[in-house]
Every structure is written in C-alpha cells, then in structure tokens.
C-alpha cells in the first residue's frame, strides 16, 4: 500500500461504542425533527449567544451524532433561547425545543 503520509487524527475519531443509541432515541422521541438536520449552520450563523461564547446548535447536534453528549450540552449552555435559529432553519426544525430536549436529557446524565 502506498503511504500518502495521511492518517486519522485521534481527536476527530468517532468511537461508535460510545454512541448511546437509547439516549439518542429518547431525544428523537421528544423532538423527532432532530433527524431532519442537514447541519447547514444557519442556526449558528444567526445565533445571538455565539457572538460571545461557544454556542452552536449545529455543532451540538453534530456532537450528539458522534456520541458526545457532554460536548453537546457544553455547546448549548450559553444559549439565550431567543429563537432566531428556529426562524431561519431551512428544514423547519423546532430548534428551541431541540435545545430544551438536549439540555433535559443529556444535561441530566
């Protein structure tokens, strides 16, 4: 095999064993539209809180899909709940309820 000199960086590797399907299903039961997200980042672009702190619905959902619940909560802790992300979401996801549900389920873990 030709060695191109590339390798996976350990930090971005996804450990599927850590992905807690049951907890994620609980989230989907509360907010089924979470599946619709295509991670376009509109939510993060308009985010009021992201101007001051690390806050991004897109990154939070991305983290959840990679099995990183704690990181998702971290991403949403600064959320001011203003609702701009819901207004701009091209997929019509109720991001506010998604945020509440993530904080409720993963915040309690």
């Amino acid at each position: 095999m030709v060695d191109f000199g590339f390798s996976l960086s350990p930090s971005s590797r996804i450990d599927l064993d850590e992905f807690d399907r049951k907890t994620f299903d609980r989230l989907l039961a509360l907010e089924p539209d979470a599946k619709k997200c295509m991670e376009c980042g509109s939510c993060s672009a308009v985010c009021t809180a992201s101007r001051y702190t690390e806050t991004s619905v897109r990154r939070a959902l991305h983290a959840l899909r990679n099995g990183c619940g704690a990181q998702a909560v971290e991403e949403l802790k600064g959320c001011q709940f203003c609702g701009k992300c819901t207004m701009v979401c091209p997929r019509g996801i109720n991001t506010r309820h998604l945020i509440l549900s993530i904080l409720k389920i993963y915040g309690a873990l």
């Binding site: 539209d33 376009c40 509109s42 672009a45 308009v46 009021t48 809180a49 992201s50 101007r51 001051y52 702190t53 690390e54 909560v73 802790k77 600064g78 959320c79 001011q80 709940f81 203003c82 609702g83 701009k84 207004m87 701009v88 091209p90 019509g92 996801i93 109720n94 506010r96 309820h97 509440l100 904080l103 409720k104 915040g107």
Partner: protein
C-alpha cells in the same frame, strides 16, 4: 289536606296572609337537598381554608388590605355583579350567549334572594336554623298556605317576581339545551366536551327549573302563585282532576337539587362560587406562584369550562389541537394529570387571547408558564460570558473579551439564508457593542434604540427606523447594532426564569449606564419584558409605533396620505400583551386607508410564529399562519378586503406572514417611511 291541617291553620289564620301549612315545618322530601347542600357547604369550607392556608402570608395580608381599600372594594362589588351575575363580558361579544348565562346566573340568584326575603317578610321565625332555614326558603311554596281571599299587594308582588324570574331562568335553560345541539347559533363554533361529573351536574341543572315550575304549579292552589304557576295549576286540574298528588314532583325537585349540589365540586359548576374568590384574589393583585396550589387553585376552580377559549385559540384551526386549549389544560390541572399537563403547557403559543376573552379572567397562559417553570427552570445554563459585556463609551470592548476570535464580526452581516446580503453595520466600529447613529449633539444620547434579536433577522425594520430617526433629527444611539443579547422574554416564556433574570440584569446594566431617558424597541417581545420586568427607573420604554407617533404628533415627521389600503395586524405581545392598539392605528390612518379585518384589537389572532410555544412544529405553525392570514384578509361580514399591504409591528409576525400572505407584508416603520416627506 287532612282535617287536622285545616284546623291548625284556621287557628292561626287572621294574623297573617301566609300560614304554615305543614306544622312540623319538615317533610322527608327535603332530605336529598339537605344532604346535597350539606356536603357541598362542607366541601367549600374545607376548600376555602385550604386555599387561604396555601397562599403566602404576604398575599393573605394583601388580600385583607384589598377588602378594606375602598377603591378595590368598589371594583370587587362591580366585578361580582358584572362578571358573576350579569356576565357583561359575554354580553358584549355574544349577546345571545350572554343572555343565556346571565339569565341562569342572575335569575337563580334572584330566586334564592327573593325566596329568603319572602320568608323574612311573611314567616320570619323560619330563618332560624332549628326551624329549617337551610331548606325552608327553597321549598317555601310547599310549606305555606295562602288564603286566596286575603292576598295583599305585597304578597302578589312577590308571587309575580318569583314567577317572573322562574320564567327568566327557564328561557335561559331552554337556550342552554338548544346550545348543546347547535352551539353555532349562539356564536360558538366549538363547545367543551363535558366530563362525567359535568354531565351529571348539567342534566340535573337542566331539570331543576322545569321541576321547580312543576312542583310550584302543583301546589299553586294552596300556596298561591302568579301568572306562570297559577295557569299551569289550572292545566293540571284540567288533566288530573280535582285532587293533585304533588309529593312526587317535590321529591323529584329536591333530588335534582341534591344531585346537583353533590356533583358540583367535581364539575365545572364549582365556578359559580369559586369565581367570587378568584375575583377577590385577582383584584387584590395576587399572582399564582405555583400552577396548582393557592391562588392557582382558586383560579382553576373558577374556570366555568364554557369553552369560549376553544374558538379563541389560534391552534384550533386544526381540530386535533382542540385538546391543547386552556379549558382542557385547566381540567387536567384539576385532575393532577401530570404527563398531559406538561404536554399541553408546552404547546401553547402564549398569545393570551384565551385570557382576554375569558368571562372570568382566568389567566391560563400564566398557569402554563408556572407549570413550565416547575419543569424547565432546572435546566442547566451558563451565562458567565455576560459579565464581559461593555457599557457604551466604555473602553472594554465585548468583541475583545469574547473567547474566540473567529466570532468577531459574526453579528455584522445578515446571513445569506435570509435572502438578504445587506450588511447594515459596515461603518460601525467593530469594537463597540453600542453603535452611534443620527445627529449627535451631546455625549449622552436621549434615545437608546434596541432592535433585538428578531429585528436583526428582518433588517428592513431597523433600516426604516434608522432612516425615520434621521429624518426626524432624533438624538439616538443604537444599542445592539452588531447584535446585543436577548431580552430574556423567550426564556421567561419557557419557564426558565432564573436564566432570564441574568439576561435582564446584563441588559439593565448596559441601559442604565448609557444615561438615556428613552428606550425604543422594535420587537414587542422585548417591549413587554423591558416594560414589565426591567424596572428601569427614569427611563421611558416605548415601542417604535409609540415613539413614531410621538414624532408625528410633534411635527418632526411629516407624512403624506397615500391611496393604498392597508390592514393592520395587532401583534399579540404589543396588543394584548401591552395594550398598544391606538398608536399604530392613529398613524396608519393618516397615511393610508386603514381597513378593519374580521378579528383585530384584543381579538387579533397569533401569526403562528410565536416564541411562546415550545413544541409546536413547523407544519402546525403553517396552519395557524394561513388561518390567521385568511382572518386578516376578510372583513367581519366575510367579504374580501383586498388590501395593498398587510402591516404589522413585530419582526416575528413580519417574517412569519411574509412567507404565507398573498399581499406584501410591511412593518409599521417601513410604511411610515414610505409616506414620510
């Protein structure tokens, strides 16, 4: 009648026109009623003590003071008569429905009061408990004998009144029965689905008054009667002959009353008495702190389950959402059905229309917020970054303090997802959260403008406001040109009040440091919380519709009247929330032909974009929006209005309607700018 009876009343005759026909002043038929009313009286006494015990001591003091305060006491009396007896609020909106409710409430009240007055006037010794004061006035016509030859004017006057009010109640009952089958005739599209206890109480209530007529007419030749009972009595004689067996009807009447009072605490009819308590609480200014206990309990039981909130609720354009209406929310609260309570509490748009239209002023949205608070207030948050925010003119800049350098400049341009690529903060210094605009005459601006999150999503509003300020020569400063922080109202609506308090404190610090004397807001959501919860001393808080009207009135903005016709939509938070109805209309009528849609003012319908709802999905919201657009584009007689534009004063409404309305949707500031010289 036995010979003994005749002998007894002949002995006492002569002294008065009314004589005890039944010497023992008791008959077994009163027992069902006595049992029912005794149970009911015990129940409400315990309930009243429980409620008063559950409210905080400070609220109890407030209540006591309110009862002796002449102004509030007068309001109490007025509200008790207008709301409980005459149902003025229903009369104003739906006269036939108002007649139905007031005839039953006021008619029954008068029957009870007049019954007691009759007893007090003619047989006063029966007002003592041992002589049957509990039931005697109710079954007065059974227990007395009136000499037909000696009826005085006073006696016949009371007979007339009693018959009159009985007829009055009976017409109301007839309407109520009719309403069960065809409610739309009385102005209600949807009516509440009664529960089992409701049905039991409802059917016994329907029967009480016809049975009363039956019972009193059967004995009318003994007790006396007037225009209603006497002719009916003749009819019975015609049908059944000389001797009438009146005991069965009196038993039936008593059983119906007993069943009604026994079922009352578990049915919607509990409102008849709890309404009184709720009105006293409401006028004393008590607020429920818990969704179920204390003040809330009185409020929940004051709900008459009339279902006026069903037609009011904007969600009910879809029949599947009927179950989320306030009336069912309150029913679930009464039953402690936790799971469903939360489901319903989270759905509501918080448009407050059910509260405004409620005949007893039950603030269901506040109860829903209290319910949300019990669940959502525990959610984690971290706003430590807010402490780094700078005040205007201060050397510390927010962008520098932001943890990430990549975030700087994020708030400057509107994302392309909005279809707008305008950068409205190009010239603003990047390091300050406050941007200065307009004619700067001194260091301290008089007017501070806070656009708010939503206005930044609809930059045409803030550009119009900026331009209007420039034209009027306002000395102003832009508080969040590059994007500030949220006002806290969305968190408040979600029940996360602790988190909201941090945002409120941060904004308040910045506003007070600015030294302004007027704060102007474009978003009614911000306006409501800034006005009600910020307690900004010495600073006037105005929505831009109010501020622009002031500029127009002062002659600083010159407007020209156009030929276009417009329909104005009252945003929930601005209209019902803050009572701003007149100002936008006053200005709009100067610049365009203002048409009145089928529902406006305090009956205005939510656009569907409200931040109040936590769980309503995009599809359901679209239903609400299209329903709302239909209401706005037709007149109250149903004819289409064909306006040239739909005008609103809320960025959220603007954005929501923009996607659904067939006509251009404009903000108030935008259309004023178009017509300004």
């Amino acid at each position: 009648m036995t010979k003994l009876h005749v002998a007894v009343f002949l002995q006492t005759a002569g002294a008065s026109e009314v004589i005890d026909r039944v010497p023992a002043s008791f008959s077994p038929f009163v027992l069902p009623f006595v049992i029912g009313i005794s149970f009911f009286l015990c129940w409400i006494t315990v309930g009243l003590i429980r409620v008063l015990y559950a409210i905080p001591a400070s609220d109890r003091r407030k209540l006591a003071i309110s009862l002796v305060n002449p102004k509030i006491a007068w309001k109490n009396i007025r509200d008790l008569f207008c709301d409980c007896l005459f149902h003025v609020k229903i009369w104003q909106r739906k006269p036939l429905l108002g007649y139905m409710h007031s005839s039953i409430a006021f008619g029954w009240f008068m029957l009870i009061v007049l019954g007691h007055i009759e007893v007090a006037l003619f047989v006063p010794w029966h007002l003592s408990f041992s002589k049957g004061s509990l039931y005697y006035p109710i079954f007065y016509r059974y227990f007395i004998w009136t000499d037909p030859a000696h009826v005085t004017l006073r006696g016949s006057f009371f007979f007339f009144l009693m018959d009159f009010f009985l007829l009055y109640v009976l017409t109301g009952i007839a309407l109520a029965v009719f309403k069960r089958f065809r409610s739309i005739v009385l102005g209600m599209r949807h009516t509440t689905k009664p529960s089992l206890a409701d049905r039991l109480a409802l059917y016994s209530l329907w029967l009480i008054f016809p049975l009363r007529l039956l019972a009193e007419s059967f004995t009318a030749d003994l007790s006396g009667g007037s225009f209603l009972t006497v002719p009916v009595n003749h009819l019975w004689h015609l049908l059944f002959g000389e001797k009438l067996y009146f005991m069965p009807v009196w038993w039936a009447y008593s059983i119906c009353l007993g069943v009604f009072f026994a079922a009352m605490p578990f049915s919607r009819y509990m409102h008849i008495l709890t309404e009184v308590l709720w009105i006293l609480f409401r006028n004393a200014g008590l607020q429920p702190s818990h969704p179920r206990k204390g003040v809330a309990e009185a409020e929940i039981y004051a709900c008459s389950s009339c279902g006026l909130c069903l037609d009011a609720c904007p969600m009910n354009v879809q029949k599947k959402n009927l179950k989320y209406s306030s009336v069912y929310f309150i029913r679930r609260l009464r039953r402690h059905n936790e799971r469903k309570i939360n489901l319903i509490a989270d759905k509501c748009l918080m448009c407050d229309k059910c509260h405004v239209l409620c005949p007893v002023g039950v603030d269901a949205p506040a109860l829903r917020r209290a319910q949300r608070k019990t669940v959502k207030n525990a959610l984690t948050y971290d706003y430590s970054y807010l402490s780094a925010l700078s005040a205007p003119g201060s050397s510390v800049s927010s962008a520098e303090n932001a943890p990430e350098t990549e975030t700087s400049g994020r708030g400057c341009s509107v994302p392309s997802a909005l279809g707008s690529s305008v950068s409205f903060a190009e010239n603003a210094p990047e390091t300050e959260i406050f941007g200065r605009g307009g004619a700067v005459s001194s260091d301290v601006p008089r007017v501070l403008y806070f656009a708010g999150c939503m206005t930044h999503l609809t930059p045409r509003i803030l550009r119009s406001v900026e331009e209007l300020f420039r034209k009027a020569g306002v000395d102003w400063q832009f508080m969040d040109r590059e994007g500030g922080i949220c006002c806290g109202r969305p968190l408040m609506l979600a029940g996360r009040t602790d988190a909201a308090a941090e945002l409120v404190a941060a904004n308040k610090r910045m506003i007070e440091a600015s030294g302004c004397d007027t704060l102007v807001l474009s978003c009614p959501i911000c306006y409501k919380i800034f006005k009600e919860d910020y307690a900004l001393s010495g600073i006037r808080v105005l929505h831009h519709t109010q501020f622009i009207k002031e500029l127009v009135d002062a002659g600083r903005l010159v407007l020209s009247k156009g030929t276009d016709s417009v329909v104005y939509h009252d945003p929930c938070e601005l209209g019902r929330g803050c009572g701003v109805y007149a100002e936008p209309r006053a200005v709009l009528s100067q610049i365009a032909d203002l048409k009145k849609p089928s529902q406006d003012g305090d009956e205005s319908v939510c656009c569907g974009g409200s931040l109040g709802s936590l769980t309503l999905n995009a599809n359901d919201r679209e239903w609400i929006t299209s329903g709302s657009v239909k209401i706005l584009l037709k007149a109250s007689d149903g004819s289409p209005l064909h306006p040239d534009a739909l005008v609103t004063a809320c960025p959220l409404c603007l954005k929501t309607f923009n996607e659904a309305a067939p006509v251009p949707v404009k903000d108030f500031a935008e259309i004023v700018l178009e017509h300004s010289a």
